[in-house]
């Protein structure tokens, strides 16, 4: 089986700053690839390359086995790669169904008489959300009145509805409480079970581990490795994430400071 997305030794620099260095991983259909790392580890740069916002400088980026180089987010979307950004998922003041169709509005009529098909739009949005288990009473309500988790879910449902094969989620749980995070992770699992390839960016190993099939750990732009779930434990993942050896060195230093005083 060809991977939906494969990146092989990909690098990207902004001027003299090497943001991502020689990173490789794969995203398969029906699997979740988690990208973990601290702030500034290169997570955002990597997903921006996948999403078509930036282009890589070297390495190979393959979609369905074909090498690609996206020049715009629209191109990535057309290739079936949809990205849900943490704070950019929705327009809060617009209604749920208008957000759902934003950028791909259903219309009737031709030429200058073309207008929104509001009835069909509302109906499709309601059904698509219900399919993911999100039961909204009123798709006319502004998205701003939904909870943070529900907003992410509207964005996820939208991506799935518009034929995304790969769903990239940028820190979907970062701003959410424990309960809302659970809600979002459940939809991540649903998307995976529907056969989508999911890329989950997070800095929380406790959110990544239960749903992930593969874990790519980044640190200062470089890859600490791409592990299958069978190859790593939650403890090891947490240790690697937290800086592993560095954290131990820090603990050692702190002990020395304490004993000196």
């Amino acid at each position: 089986m060809t991977a939906l997305i494969e990146v092989d030794g990909i690098s990207k620099s902004y001027g003299s700053v090497l943001a991502v260095r020689d990173v490789s991983t794969v995203v398969n259909a029906g699997e979740v690839t988690c990208v973990l790392g601290d702030n500034g580890a290169g997570k955002s740069t990597l997903i921006k390359i996948l999403a078509g916002v930036h282009q890589h400088d070297s390495g190979r980026f393959l979609v369905n086995g074909n090498e690609v180089r996206f020049t715009s987010p629209r191109e990535a979307l057309d290739a079936g790669i949809a990205t849900v950004y943490q704070d950019l998922a929705v327009v809060p003041l617009m209604s749920v169904w208008r957000n759902f169709f934003l950028g791909s509005e259903p219309t009737v009529g031709v030429g200058p008489l073309q207008r929104l098909d509001r009835k069909r739009g509302k109906e499709i949005a309601r059904t698509a959300l219900a399919d993911l288990g999100i039961d909204l009473r009123d798709v006319e309500q502004p998205v701003g009145t939904l909870s943070g988790g529900e907003r992410q879910c509207v964005a996820i449902a939208r991506a799935i509805h518009f034929g995304a094969k790969v769903l990239i989620l940028d820190e979907p749980t970062a701003a959410l409480g424990v309960k809302q995070s659970g809600v979002v992770l459940r939809y991540v699992a649903q998307a995976r079970d529907r056969g989508l390839g999911v890329v989950l960016i997070t800095h929380n190993p406790h959110h990544a581990f239960p749903v992930g099939n593969r874990f790519l750990i980044l640190k200062r732009g470089a890859s600490l490795g791409s592990f299958e779930k069978s190859e790593i434990t939650l403890e090891e993942l947490t240790r690697q994430m937290a800086g592993g050896a560095e954290l131990e060195a820090l603990a050692h230093e702190l002990r020395e400071v304490e004993s000196a005083s």
């Binding site: 809060p92 003041l93 208008r98 169709f101 934003l102 950028g103 929104l116 009145t145």
Partner: protein
């Protein structure tokens, strides 16, 4: 805690009529308009006569055309401070081409429209290209146009006005389209009222019923989100600036054909009246929310109050007090709404 065995959805409570109405941006303006209308109908004798109605509708009309265009732009998240001066610039361009160059008025109007669309596109391009606040960019165009209006007019005519439209070719037919009157009973109403109502209806349709309208709300509500789902943000904003400029051209054309003389220093300060009318009509200063019909009603309140104060024989100074109170009230109402809509539950 209430019991949950009733089949009633606990979320229905959010759906009261009041909540629904508050979501309609024009409701506040509509109530305000009714209050102003009733007030002046009672305190003055002339307000509710046919002649009175024609007077305040006339005052509201050209302001209303601009308020509707500015409202669309504000929903799209931008301001245009050059809109007021633009109404004078377009009138001057038309007048100079028709009276000094000797072109047919239709052709002069066309050239003036091209000029307006060019300035609008420049405004939009500068804003999306530089990422600077449109407040500053269009303040620049405002000053530049103000200077151009006076400078060019003085160069061409040696005075600060261009007159003599009546003698130009095509004055009669263009005048019929832009500056004629129509009678209801014995009273003449200005044709600009038709333009105002028509433009507001068209804008309302575009905003709520078309794809482009959806994009306008999106780029104003959150441009990065809109961009992320493939909405052409730059194109949408540039088109909105061009729409505002085109509306200024329409108002400029109505004025030049009605008064047949264009003053080079006209239009200054009007841009704030447009923004005020749009805000009274329910537009948020931060973009992403508002209504074309609301802005048209905002302009109506403006016209009714301005003429009502004249009918009541009050000093026109009171108009400013009234305006200030209306504006503050509207901003408070709008702000409350935004907080409701953007409140994040976690």
């Amino acid at each position: 805690m209430t019991t949950v065995d009733k089949p009633v959805d606990e979320r229905v409570a959010q759906n009261h009529l009041a909540t629904r109405l508050v979501v309609r941006p024009e409701i506040g303006a509509l109530i305000g308009a009714l209050v102003v209308f009733l007030f002046f109908s009672i305190v003055t004798d002339k307000f509710l006569t046919m002649g009175g109605v024609a007077t305040w509708l006339d005052d509201s009309a050209t302001l209303g055309i601009m308020a509707v265009a500015v409202a669309m732009l504000m929903i799209g998240g931008e301001f245009d401070l050059s809109a007021g001066v633009m109404t004078a610039s377009t009138a001057l361009v038309t007048a100079i081409f028709a009276t000094q160059v000797g072109l047919n008025v239709w052709l002069a109007l066309l050239l003036s429209l091209v000029f307006a669309l060019g300035v609008g596109a420049l405004n939009g391009w500068l804003v999306v290209r530089t990422g600077l606040p449109s407040f500053i960019v269009t303040l620049g165009t405002f000053l530049a146009l103000q200077g151009l209006n006076l400078g060019v007019t003085r160069l061409v005519t040696d005075s600060v006005q261009v007159s003599g439209m009546r003698r130009a070719d095509g004055y009669a037919s263009t005048g019929f389209v832009f500056a004629s009157t129509f009678d209801i009973g014995d009273t003449s109403f200005r044709i600009s009222i038709i333009w105002w109502v028509g433009f507001a209806a068209l804008a309302a349709y575009v905003l709520v019923r078309t794809k482009f309208g959806n994009w306008i709300f999106a780029v104003g509500g959150s441009a990065p989100s809109a961009r992320a789902v493939g909405v052409p943000v730059a194109r949408t904003k540039i088109l909105l600036f061009m729409t505002t400029a085109a509306a200024a051209w329409l108002v400029g054309s109505i004025n030049i054909l009605r008064y047949t003389t264009a003053q080079a220093n006209e239009g200054i300060g009007l841009e704030f009246q447009y923004i005020i009318a749009a805000v009274i009509g329910g537009c948020l200063l931060t973009g992403g929310f508002g209504s074309a019909v609301g802005a048209a009603i905002g302009a109506l309140i403006f016209g009714m109050a301005r003429q009502g104060i004249v009918f009541a024989n009050w000093d026109s100074d009171w108009f400013m007090l009234f305006l200030g109170i209306m504006l503050l009230g509207a901003v408070l109402v709008n702000n409350t709404f935004r907080r409701r809509a953007e409140r994040v539950r976690r």
